[in-house]
Every structure is written in structure tokens, then in C-alpha cells.
């Protein structure tokens, strides 16, 4: 079974800052990481491979330095890495990205065998759109399983899969036929460390590097800025809410007295709450 995991190299959002004057994101010196949600997808794909046999290919689109993320994925235990990189792709929004990745997936199918499953994380931490996975599924006519919390059953011979999908208000159990695309939820597994051999293999591995032409992309008008109808009009940092922290002296007071003083302090600041509570306790 061939499984492809689409990953993205993203700036570590925990360390990103917005320039106070220009309101632009300061990317300089911000370390890059594999989009954390994609790691759940990668681990799930490798578990299926370990169980059913086959290969896991990781695919990313990005600048040449995205190779670092691919090598990391190989260290974790992926079998093959493909980097889709071309200046043509610069400025891609989710529409153009899903076009390029879908084209590369078709090419991967031709060269390395058609995938039965394509994985992505549920979304990236820099764009947060959750649109690229479904976009790929639509373009390649793959059955679409989003926000998957657990893979319940997979039958490669019958080409069927059953998953639990987290939805508002509950969990859906969905079954469908392969090939399918799964966007994986966070927290469902933990990425393995990778053995010393896989780390060594990753360090020595040849990364498959494709530009637009090599990936079989003819229509460059659908790539990069030209193929991106989304326009970023403005980026700004939300202003912090003006909330104060106050510490009340409670030393040696009995619990009731502490509660009393906290409630009194709240009522003093929010008289409306006091009114509501009084009405509530009066049964109105």
C-alpha cells in the first residue's frame, strides 16, 4: 500500500512576532518546524504501513530549505520524500497550493505507484484555513475524510476504510472506499523518534526534487500569485484586552471569608452580576 503524507514547513508560531510599526509578520530568525498537525498524519500513515506493509512518501511544497523538514520526516521513518519547489509557486493561496499538490500527487502516482491514502494535517498553524486537504481531494476525486480522530478499520484488499470523525455535537463513524484523503486531528498519536538507522538513512537520502515542469504542471496560470484569487488586505496584531489581575489578601482567613471577599470584590466591579444573581436566587 502506498500512502502519501502532505506536509508543510511553517514558522514556529510560538516564536513569531508582529512588527509593532508595520504590522507585518517578522519571519527573520524565526525557526521553522513541520506543521505540528501534519506530524499526527505522518505517524498515523506510518502505523498503517507498519501494519499492512507498503511505503510512506512525504510531499511538501515550499522553498529549497523545506528539505530540512523532509529529512526530519525521513528521520521519523518515512520511506521517500518529494520536494515541490519552483519560483512559480511563490505567493500561492490555498487554491493554487491544492492545484500544485494535486498535480504532484498525480505525478507521484505515475512514478512511484498510485497512493491508496493521502494524509494531511487538519490545518496548518500559519494559514489555519484547513482548505488545502479538501482542495486536493476534490481535484483528484478522492473520498474525503476530514477531522479524523481514529482509524477504526482498513481493508486494503476490499479497498475500504472506516474512521471516526469528530463533528460538532459528537463523533461520526464513516466508511468509504479507497483511495481516500484523510485530514488528521491533533492528539490522536505521538510521532515516533525514529531509530538510529532511519536517522542515518535520512541524512544520506536523495530527496526527490521537482519543479513545476517535472511535476507535470503545464498551466502555470493556476500557480503562485497568478493562480491565487485570495488577496491579503491587512495583517494586524490584536490589541491586548485591558484586564487587570488583582490579588486579595487572604492570609489565615477561613474559606468562607475568602469566598465572601472574592464575591464582594466581583460585585463591586460588576454590579450587573450582583443584580442577576439576586434575581436568580429569588427565582425570577
Amino acid at each position: 500500500m502506498h500512502i502519501v503524507v502532505c506536509m508543510k514547513q511553517v514558522p514556529d508560531s510560538a516564536q513569531i512576532r508582529v512588527h509593532p510599526v508595520t504590522n507585518t509578520i517578522m519571519r527573520q530568525g524565526v525557526p521553522t518546524i513541520i506543521n505540528p498537525y501534519d506530524l499526527f498524519a505522518l505517524e498515523e500513515a506510518m502505523r498503517l504501513r507498519d501494519q499492512f506493509g507498503g511505503e510512506v512518501t512525504v510531499l511538501t511544497m515550499g522553498p529549497p530549505m523545506a528539505e530540512d523538514s523532509l529529512r526530519k520526516a525521513l528521520t521519523f521513518g518515512a520511506d521517500r520524500a518529494v520536494l515541490l519547489t519552483d519560483r512559480t509557486f511563490a505567493g500561492s493561496d490555498t487554491l493554487a497550493t491544492s492545484f500544485a499538490l494535486a498535480s504532484a500527487l498525480s505525478k507521484i502516482g505515475e512514478v512511484f505507484g498510485p497512493p491508496s491514502l493521502v494524509f494531511t494535517g487538519k490545518q496548518t498553524i500559519d494559514g489555519d484555513t484547513a482548505q488545502v486537504g479538501p482542495g486536493i481531494a476534490k481535484r483528484l476525486a478522492l473520498h474525503q475524510l476530514t477531522y479524523v480522530a481514529r482509524i477504526v478499520a482498513l481493508d486494503p484488499d476490499a479497498a475500504t476504510i472506516t474512521v471516526e470523525r469528530r463533528a460538532e455535537g459528537g463523533i461520526q463513524v464513516l466508511s468509504t472506499r479507497l483511495p481516500a484523503l484523510i485530514t488528521m486531528l491533533e492528539g490522536v498519536n505521538e510521532i515516533r523518534r525514529g531509530t538510529l538507522e532511519s536517522a542515518y538513512r535520512a541524512a544520506c537520502a536523495e530527496i526527490v526534487i521537482w519543479n513545476a515542469a517535472a511535476a507535470g504542471i503545464g498551466d502555470l496560470g493556476k500557480c503562485g500569485l497568478r493562480g491565487s484569487p485570495t488577496i491579503v488586505k491587512k495583517v494586524f496584531a490584536p490589541s491586548p484586552r485591558a484586564e487587570k489581575v488583582q490579588q486579595l489578601p487572604t492570609a489565615d482567613l477561613p474559606a468562607e471569608a475568602v469566598a465572601e471577599s472574592v464575591i464582594r470584590e466581583i460585585f463591586k466591579r460588576q454590579p450587573a452580576i450582583e443584580g442577576d444573581l439576586v434575581r436568580f436566587s429569588a427565582g425570577q
Partner: protein, 434 residues
């Protein structure tokens, strides 16, 4: 287990490990390098000054693409009391030479660059891989390493230990004793960001010129230690460090010292409006010549901080690390080419080669200094105060005649340290320095 057998395994991707790996890889040896950090430089901390000559001997054209911050054109040496400093400054446009002698660098970036060159030379680097122990054959020869990864053994003719000051692998394997608190300093450092132009106007610099300040005095609260301030392109590195044994004895905290140093009236204006972006701490081996452990044995060799190769007096370390790494690499390459075993007897050539370099000569020259500084705390407390007092008495124009002022200054020195004390200090210092 990695099937492939290597000529050498290098533990650590800091300056010494990189120098060794680069030297061996360029000579065609199969080199595996293991680094516990997420990337080379992620665990490494230094001021940092790069001394060009040591790197030039390894990568002559490093200036073409290494991430260098500023070349140093001015060095300020300060002794400080609580309100002032007495300084010796040397600034020369000679330092604006075509191939400058010293640069400020940011280690996270520099180490990444160095590692790139090492990998381009053919060494295989595995990060986030911690070596846990050395593997030995029944005769006790080191034949490889075990790592913390599953299936984590790898084998080689020799293991180069460039594992840094803590040297846990060497310690655990019984190659060297645990660090002694009076042989190691704890230093803390902050990075403060400032616009380029602000740094240049504040320190009177043009383009890539840089200033370094090295300071000692009451800022270390009577403990053996020094402080520094280095100018980078768009940031200032500022730090302070003292012997670990002194911190323990005096119940001082390193960050407390750094706060006080930053708020010193001589330093505060230099940092005005800067934004602190990074706080790091690290150990520095400062035991000098007498603390150098066994440097080689059957199948292993030690380079860099793990071998205590730091010249604390001159604030040199990374150049000693690179030089020891290079010479270890050259020794291994020479043995390999002569088809000689990596035995203790053959590796003695490493020590012989090292003895011929500035590394051993300087460390030997200053071998008595660590003990001297440890015993003579007045160097860090009393003398800076006396110098500052003398300067103030001498420079303040207040109607008192100069002869009286001279007498007053002499009296303050005699009162502070007594005449025999002054003579003794001078004699002891000269003897240690010699």
C-alpha cells in the same frame, strides 16, 4: 545499529567537533557526527568572539559566506566599582584590514554555517541523537558508541569526543573525573536588540565595525569572574560569569549579577531602549592547564571544552576548540594514511602536536593563574575600588594641591591593602603570569 562502519565518530557539532569532522572528511575519511541538539548550535552558548586565525587554518575562505556580525576595531578593558569604571581602550583603524582578526558572531547562526560546510565535505550528521556511552571490545579498546535512539549503536576506528564542557560521555565512561566547582564558571548572557544605526552611533562605529567590552570589578560581588558586552549587527550580547564554587559559597545568583551589571551607570545608557530577546546560561571550563584530563586512549580522543581547552585570562575558547579539533583530525588522518592503529601509543602524536601550538603554550604559561585568582579575591573587589577612588581624587579639581592628592591616593592603597599586601600581590601576580 548502523551497518556502515566509520573511520571516525565525532560526538558533538560545536567548534571542536566540527573542526575535527571537517578535517577528516576533507581528507576522505568516512565520518559520522552525532549532535544531541535539534540543530548544530542549538545547545551552544558563547559571547561570542570568533578569532579568525584558528578558523582560517581550517576553512581559509570562511569570510566569503560565514555569518559574521562585526569585526572588532576597539577593545575596552574595564575595572568597575559600583558607580564608575576605569578603562583601557585600544581602538585602531588597522583592524579595518582586508582580513580582520576578530569578529563578533551569533553562535546559533555560525554553528549552522560551520556544520553545513562539514556536511558538504562529506561527513554525515545526525541531530537530536545523544551518545549515551562508549562501546568497548574485551580488551577495553573503544570501538563505537551507543545512542539514545532505538537500535542505537554505531562503530568506528576512533571516537572523537567534542562533547563540550560537561563531557558526560567521557565522565560516564570513566575517561575523566567529574567537573570540580572551582574549575568551572557559570556564565549567563542576554541578547538585546537595537537598530543598527543606534548601535553604530552609540559606539561610534561605521558599517561592520564592532566594539567589545571586557569588565571586572565589584560587578561580580567579590567573586572570581568577569563580564562582557559585545556589539553585533543589530543586537548587543551582554553577560557575566563567575566560578561555580563562588556562586555556591556566596549564595549569589547569576541573573542577579547580570541585572546589576545591566543597571550599572556605565552600562545602562548603552542598552537604553533595547529589547531583550534571549537569555541563556552555560558552563565554561576555567581550570586551565592543571585541569586538562587524559586526552586520548585506545580508540578515543578528546577535543575542545571537554578537554578544558579554555584560556580564561584572554577569554579565548572557541579558537582553542577549533585548533584542538583540527589537530586531532590531522593526527587521525596521518595515522590512517600510515595504516597505523588508533591506539593510545600512536595517538600520543596528538599531544606532541598540541604542545607545539599556542594552545598548550598559553595554557601552560597561565597554569598558576586560576589558583591565583581563586585565592586573591581582592583583585575583583578591593583593587577596582582603589583604582576608581584614585582616578576620582586625581581628576576632581577642587583647590587641593596635587602633592596632597598623590599622598591621599597612596594612603588609600596602603590603608586598603597594607604595603606588604600590595608588594605581595604584585609579586604573586607576576609569578603566576610569567
Amino acid at each position: 545499529m548502523i551497518e556502515q562502519r566509520f573511520d571516525a565518530i565525532v560526538v558533538g557539532a560545536g567548534p571542536s567537533g566540527n573542526a575535527a569532522a571537517y578535517t577528516m572528511a576533507t581528507a576522505g575519511l568516512k565520518v559520522l557526527q552525532l549532535e544531541r541538539g535539534e540543530y548544530p548550535g542549538s545547545k551552544n552558548v558563547q559571547g561570542a568572539i570568533l578569532y579568525a586565525s584558528a578558523l582560517e587554518k581550517i576553512i581559509p575562505d570562511f569570510r566569503d559566506d560565514a555569518p559574521l556580525e562585526r569585526h572588532v576595531i576597539e577593545q575596552r578593558l574595564w575595572t568597575m566599582d559600583d558607580a564608575s569604571h576605569v578603562g583601557v581602550h585600544y581602538r585602531s583603524s588597522d583592524f579595518n584590514e582586508e582580513r580582520p582578526n576578530r569578529y563578533t558572531i551569533l553562535r546559533a547562526q555560525f554553528d549552522k554555517w560551520f556544520s553545513r560546510r562539514v556536511r558538504d565535505a562529506g561527513a554525515i550528521l545526525l541531530c537530536e541523537t545523544t551518545v549515551t556511552e562508549l562501546l568497548r571490545d574485551p580488551a577495553g579498546r573503544v570501538i563505537g558508541v551507543r545512542t539514545d535512539r532505538d537500535g542505537g549503536t554505531a562503530f568506528a576506528d576512533i571516537v572523537v569526543l567534542g562533547e563540550g564542557v560537561n563531557g558526560l560521555v567521557g565522565q560516564r565512561s570513566g575517561l575523566r573525573p567529574e567537573l570540580k566547582p572551582d574549575n568551572v564558571a557559570l556564565a549567563v548572557k542576554e541578547m538585546h536588540f537595537l537598530p543598527r544605526e543606534t548601535i553604530e552611533s552609540r559606539f561610534n562605529l561605521k558599517q561592520d565595525e564592532g566594539v567589545v567590552i571586557e569588565a571586572m570589578g565589584t560587578i561580580t560581588a567579590g567573586m572570581t569572574g568577569t563580564a562582557f558586552l559585545y556589539t553585533n549587527q543589530e543586537s548587543i550580547s551582554i553577560g557575566i560569569g563567575c566560578l561555580v564554587s563562588d556562586f555556591a559559597e556566596n549564595q549569589q545568583t547569576p541573573y542577579g549579577l547580570l541585572e546589576a551589571f545591566k543597571n550599572h551607570p556605565s552600562i545602562k545608557p548603552l542598552l537604553e531602549n533595547a529589547e531583550c530577546k534571549e537569555y541563556v546560561a552555560h558552563l565554561i571550563p576555567e581550570g586551565g592547564y592543571n585541569a586538562i584530563p587524559e586526552l586520548y586512549g585506545d580508540g578515543w580522543i578528546v577535543v575542545g571544552d571537554a578537554g578544558q581547552f579554555v584560556n580564561a585570562v584572554h577569554r579565548e575558547g572557541s579558537n582553542l576548540a577549533m585548533t584542538t579539533g583540527r589537530i586531532a583530525g590531522e593526527t587521525i588522518v596521518a595515522l590512517k594514511q600510515r595504516h597505523q592503529a588508533m591506539s593510545k601509543a600512536n595517538l600520543a602524536e596528538y599531544r606532541r602536536r598540541l604542545d607545539e601550538t599556542f594552545v598548550m603554550k598559553d595554557l601552560k604559561k597561565y597554569r598558576k593563574i586560576p589558583a591565583f585568582l581563586h585565592r586573591n579575591k581582592q583583585i575583583f573587589g578591593l583593587y577596582p575600588k582603589l583604582f576608581a577612588g584614585a582616578a576620582q581624587t586625581w581628576l576632581r579639581v577642587d583647590g587641593i594641591d596635587k602633592r596632597t592628592k598623590e599622598k591621599e591616593i597612596l594612603k588609600s592603597f596602603r590603608k586598603g591593602r597594607t604595603l606588604p599586601g600590595l608588594i605581595g600581590d604584585a609579586f604573586n601576580f607576576a609569578r603566576s603570569w610569567r
